[in-house]
């Protein structure tokens, strides 16, 4: 276990060894705040960090196309992880930040990461004006009026790629679960979770072949918790879909070693009205033998939804210190559209 690994484990709540990965994630929560169904989200304050919770993230994915219609996907993530439930100035801060950035084309996949200590100014987030950053990666509010998250600028770079995007929301913030309280297991593990799934995007991708002008749709997730998984859960499959009807679907499946997977979903009407669904309403079934599965059958009978997801680039593995699969997908079946798929807790593909 090298220090990078140590730090990364810290970043995603300590486990006994790197190899164990996502298993047992955040099962301990000594001294940290526990999400409560009685807590109400409050903006803009909740756009900023919550150091009293163990883990937190600012997670943006976008489905983009260029003038020729080629599909692209980008991911920008800032994780915060606390070793102790407070923030302090300077090196004494117990907060550790991890940035992940990805860019998928139909044939290539790029990934990069950044690590930094809190308290130093190297990485962090502020609620107003809204900004989340690590090193020279930055997500910052450009909103003149309304909510801080209504307009954003977004930059990141890594080996072989960079992107610089402008995001404008054309819908409201959407609480996930019950008023932003999202249950993650039958034992009651939960997080505070809200999204801004209505971004229109324009901007530039920098690739080895040169700059590419793109447009598309983006989805921002904000989530914080202190014990998101139960002890027997060892990974998750998560989707965010932009349907051509204007509706959105967020769904996840938490895999359990000892019992059936725990699922949860939120149907978001084109006007932003959420309909949360409890465990079992959504079914997610792998449609390929690949590991991790890059094709899925998704069913939400309550919304007459039965769709097939196919990865735009099945090789969207993020080979970082803490590896996972994350990439854009195409939606076909009862509904058409595009979206993003994230799968954690799988062994690295050959």
């Amino acid at each position: 276990m090298n220090a990078r690994c140590l730090a990364l484990l810290a970043a995603l709540a300590a486990g006994p060894a790197c190899a164990q990965g996502y298993a047992g994630l955040g099962t301990r929560a000594e001294g940290f705040a526990i999400p409560s169904p009685d807590t109400r989200l409050s903006f803009p304050d909740d756009h900023g960090p919550h150091p009293e919770y163990r883990i937190e993230w600012w997670y943006l994915t976008a489905n983009l196309t260029d003038a020729a219609g080629t599909d692209y996907g980008i991911q920008w993530t800032l994780f915060r992880s606390a070793l102790a439930p407070f923030e302090a100035e300077g090196w004494a801060s117990p907060q550790i930040w991890l940035g992940n950035a990805g860019l998928s084309t139909p044939t290539e996949h790029y990934a990069a990461e950044r690590l930094a200590r809190g308290g130093t100014g190297l990485a962090g987030a502020t609620a107003q004006p809204f900004e989340a950053w690590i090193d020279d990666w930055r997500m910052a509010s450009t909103a003149m009026t309304g909510d801080q998250l209504d307009a954003l600028s977004l930059t990141a770079n890594g080996d072989g790629f960079a992107y610089d995007l402008a995001l404008t929301a054309n819908g409201p913030l959407v609480p996930q679960g019950i008023d932003g309280y999202s249950v993650k297991s039958r034992e009651g593990q939960a997080s505070h979770y809200y999204s801004q799934p209505f971004y229109d995007i324009t901007g530039t991708l920098s690739l080895p072949s040169g700059p590419v002008e793109v447009t598309g749709q983006g989805w921002l997730d904000r989530e914080y918790s202190s014990q998101p998984l139960s002890e027997t859960q060892d990974g998750w499959d998560w989707i965010s879909l932009h349907l051509d009807s204007g509706a959105k679907l967020m769904g996840f499946r938490l895999r359990d070693r000892e019992s059936a997977a725990f699922t949860s979903a939120t149907w978001i009407a084109p006007d932003g009205t959420p309909t949360p669904y409890r465990d079992g309403a959504l079914t997610m079934t792998p449609a390929t033998d690949a590991e991790p599965p890059t094709g899925w059958q998704i069913d939400l009978p309550a919304q007459d939804l039965s769709v097939q997801l196919d990865a735009i680039n099945p090789k969207s593995w993020m080979p970082l210190t803490f590896p996972y699969w994350e990439g854009p997908v195409r939606v076909t079946g009862s509904h058409q559209g595009r979206g993003y798929l994230e799968m954690t807790g799988y062994p690295a593909p050959e």
Binding site: N2, R4, R117
Partner: protein, 799 residues
């Protein structure tokens, strides 16, 4: 038939378990020492390669502020502008009366190769251990022992690869200990950093080239060659054992061979069976040896790592990685060694007439002619060794001299011993004494290989310990002289330094210690400017100087360089030395500078300031008679942090500590080689004792008691060891001279005077006798307990 033959051959080892043990142990020991050295070398080479350009933190380009520390906000601004930089905070502290060099690194951004081994893959440390108070600190075991009980320290973890007195810790802990308030000393520029300086983000920062690692593999080559030579020597000594045992086993099985051949076993089959048996044994011993070698290498590696870091600044992990290639080469050398050792025996069997007498006899006899031939070969080797440095330059010639000297002396030994024993025989009057000398001479051929091994071990021991002790004595004296100032202070910034110089006026004389790093004659070097103070003339010994060297020097008309630089470039006083573009000065003199891998030059202070006005002016040496008083005043009145003060006693102690660690490996290999030689004598004596019954029986029959016979056997063993030591002493001293005057000069660039340490010789003499005594004990006990009936049988069985 083949199976029956094989089981007949192998049955020998069942009946002679001790012989089997000797054979396996000898070969295993030889393989172990050889492969331990190979493992260490391979590990070192691997880490040089892996590190290519990332050796230690000093291998990175850095950003620093000449005026002092870097604010945390500047560091953050650089990172947010996309500069890949990692922070370093360091300082010195007095903790529990110990000077502690605190090195704060930031484990998240620091290059992984530079993290303490304790954070490696097998660590069970958690992020909370590392990042939450009290945090973790890594230090050498002796440093941890010295810090025992001191308050406000992080949790300490031993890391033998770290230099003594250093504490490597998370930057948060260092910040707390050094009260740095978040400020940083330097920023490492990691791969991918832009060219140039950051400009308006951090206008005060200057870029500094990597600390000259020089050509590390060239510098460390000599060290590894040293180790290899030791490994080879040990292997040779081990082969003596194997040769003896295999020879004995073949000799004792002559009746079996004859019977098998008489029963119709073809010669080719017999030979291939013997070869198969040999390969089996060699594989077994080789595997044992590799396991043992791995353990030895693992135990020695931390000291090797410390040595390389101390001498050359090369960083090496304190732990050993297992490499199958290395293990295979170990097996290979075991096989090759066994074949070489058995070649003679196999050849004899090939030529053995079918109906030859199966009577065992002394397995080797050496005619006087053979003895003379061997001595002539020895003399030739000696001459070739002496000729080597005359004909060729370089370290290899130095080692050729060493090799020729040692092997030549070893080959000459039997003749010398034989002559000495003849002398003894000529002076003996009583019958028992005459028999004693004659019998000893008769045994010489069987023992000579073991005694040659002993000679090699003893001579090496004398040579190496004379070299190390001479070096230490010279080094200590040199430190006493060279540390001219009583106190060394480093100001935190240029403005503080100027204030310090004002403050010192009327309180103490000070010597500026201002240097710039720059290439000197195409190699990494450093240039110091020194002020005209009489202490230099009296305390800075020049080993080669123009008559008025100091006058010329302080008249700005000469340069002084260290011995390394002078030797590397063949400078003599008066030669031009280039100190920079268009800046050439004649050489005024040369001074010793032990332990420094780099070239160094001194110029007078005005010249230095003229050519390098930007030189950092932070370090000063203070001349004072009242060290505690001035220390207290500097701290209390002037406000200098204690971390920025060091007195010359502490400096000296640290230097000697590093020195002693440097030679731990040498001492360990010394002891191991001597043990192998002791083992060689034991096997030789055991071999002989089983064959000597027919020679001793008549004496017993003539009335000599078994006790007396046993006493004489011990006496013989002691006499031979003493004689061998007598030969080893001059050889060892010649070896020491070679090491000091030839090898050291080639390897390190400095020549050392030789001192003699008779007390060490006496000790070694005692050790040699003890080894002989222990080796003789087992066979003699067997003799003393031999049943009289066995003696009688000798006559009964005589044909």
């Amino acid at each position: 038939m083949r199976r029956a033959a094989l089981s007949a051959l192998l049955s020998h080892w069942r009946r002679q378990p001790l012989q089997l043990f000797t054979l396996l142990a000898g070969l295993a020991l030889a393989t172990a020492l050889w492969s331990a050295v190979q493992a260490i070398n391979a590990e070192a080479r691997r880490s040089y390669d892996a590190a290519a350009g990332t050796l230690g933190l000093g291998a990175y380009e850095t950003l620093g502020d000449p005026a002092g520390r870097i604010p945390l906000a500047t560091f953050a601004a650089l990172r947010r502008a996309g500069w890949p930089v990692a922070p370093i905070l360091e300082g010195r502290l007095l903790v529990a009366g110990e000077r502690l060099h605190v090195l704060g690194i930031e484990p998240i951004s620091a290059p992984v190769e530079n993290l303490p081994a304790g954070l490696g893959p097998d660590s069970d440390l958690t992020p909370a251990d590392l990042f939450l108070p009290p945090g973790l600190g890594f230090a050498a075991p002796e440093t941890i022992a010295a810090l025992d009980g001191a308050p406000d320290l992080p949790r300490l973890i031993a890391d033998p690869a770290l230099p003594p007195g250093q504490l490597v810790t998370d930057i948060a802990v260092a910040d707390r200990m050094l009260e740095a308030g978040g400020d940083l000393d330097r920023l490492l520029l990691l791969p991918g950093a832009p060219e140039g300086t950051p400009g308006e983000i951090a206008p005060a920062l200057r870029r500094t080239a990597p600390q000259d690692q020089g050509d590390l593999s060239r510098l460390t080559d000599s060290f590894h060659l040293n180790l290899t030579a030791f490994g080879l020597l040990s292997f040779a000594v081990g082969l003596f054992i194997v040769h003896g045992t295999i020879g004995l086993a073949f000799e004792q099985r002559r009746p079996i061979f004859r019977t098998l051949r008489a029963l119709g076993l073809p010669l080719g089959t017999l030979l291939s069976l013997l070869l198969a048996e040999l390969l089996l044994l060699a594989l077994l011993a080789g595997a044992l040896g590799i396991a043992l070698g791995y353990l030895i290498a693992g135990a020695l590696l931390p000291d090797v790592a410390a040595t390389l870091r101390g001498l050359y600044g090369a960083s090496l992990p304190g732990t050993l990685a297992f490499d199958p290639v290395w293990a295979l080469s170990g097996l290979g050398i075991a096989l090759a060694g066994a074949l070489v050792a058995a070649a003679h025996g196999l050849d004899k069997i090939r030529r053995m007439p079918l109906l030859a007498s199966a009577q065992p006899r002394a397995w080797t006899t050496v005619s006087a002619r053979a003895l003379r031939r061997q001595a002539a070969a020895g003399a030739a080797l000696l001459l070739a060794g002496v000729a080597a440095p005359l004909l060729a330059d370089g370290l290899l010639a130095g080692f050729a001299l060493l090799g020729g000297l040692l092997l030549g002396a070893a080959l000459l030994l039997p003749l010398l011993l034989s002559a000495a024993l003849s002398l003894g025989a000529a002076r003996a009057r009583r019958a028992a004494a005459q028999w004693f000398w004659a019998d000893t001479r008769q045994q010489l051929p069987g023992l000579s290989l073991a005694l040659m091994a002993l000679l090699l071990a003893l001579a090496t021991n004398i040579g190496v310990s004379t070299m190390v002790s001479s070096f230490r004595l010279t080094f200590t004296g040199w430190l006493d002289q060279r540390l001219v100032s009583q106190l060394y202070v480093t100001a935190p910034s240029e403005s503080e330094a100027a204030r310090l110089r004002d403050w010192l006026k009327g309180r103490a004389d000070f010597l500026p210690i201002w240097k710039v790093d720059l290439p000197l004659h195409d190699a990494p070097g450093e240039l110091y400017g020194i002020s005209d103070n009489p202490v230099y003339r009296s305390h800075w010994p020049l080993i080669d100087a123009a008559p008025d060297a100091w006058d010329q020097f302080f008249a700005n008309e000469g340069v002084l360089v260290n011995e390394q630089l002078a030797r590397r470039n063949g400078f003599a006083p008066g030669d031009p030395v280039t100190l920079g573009p268009g800046w050439v000065l004649p050489l005024a003199g040369t001074y010793s500078d032990y332990g420094n891998p780099n070239g160094q030059a001194l110029v007078s202070l005005p010249l230095m300031l003229q050519h390098h006005p930007e030189v950092p002016r932070l370090r000063h040496g203070l001349l004072t008679d009242d060290i505690p008083g001035l220390t207290a005043a500097l701290h209390d009145d002037f406000g200098l942090p204690r971390a920025n003060l060091i007195n010359n006693e502490t400096l000296k102690a640290t230097s000697l500590q590093i020195f002693d660690r440097t030679f731990t490996v040498t001492a360990a290999l010394n002891v191991l080689t001597l043990s192998v030689a002791g083992f060689a004598i034991l096997t030789a004596l055991l071999t002989l004792s089983t064959m000597r019954l027919p020679q001793l029986a008549p004496l017993w029959a003539l009335g000599m008691t078994r006790r007396r016979l046993a006493r004489l056997e011990i006496l013989r063993s002691l006499a031979l060891a003493a004689l061998t030591f007598t030969v080893a002493l001059p050889v060892g001293l010649a070896l020491a001279w070679c090491l000091l005057a030839v090898v050291n000069v080639e390897a390190f660039g400095w020549r050392l005077p030789m001192f003699l340490f008779p007390r060490q010789w006496l000790l070694l003499f005692g050790l040699a006798l003890l080894a002989a005594l222990i080796a003789a004990f087992l066979p003699v006990r067997r003799l003393a307990r031999t049943e009289p009936s066995h003696f009688l049988k000798v006559f009964a069985d005589e044909r």
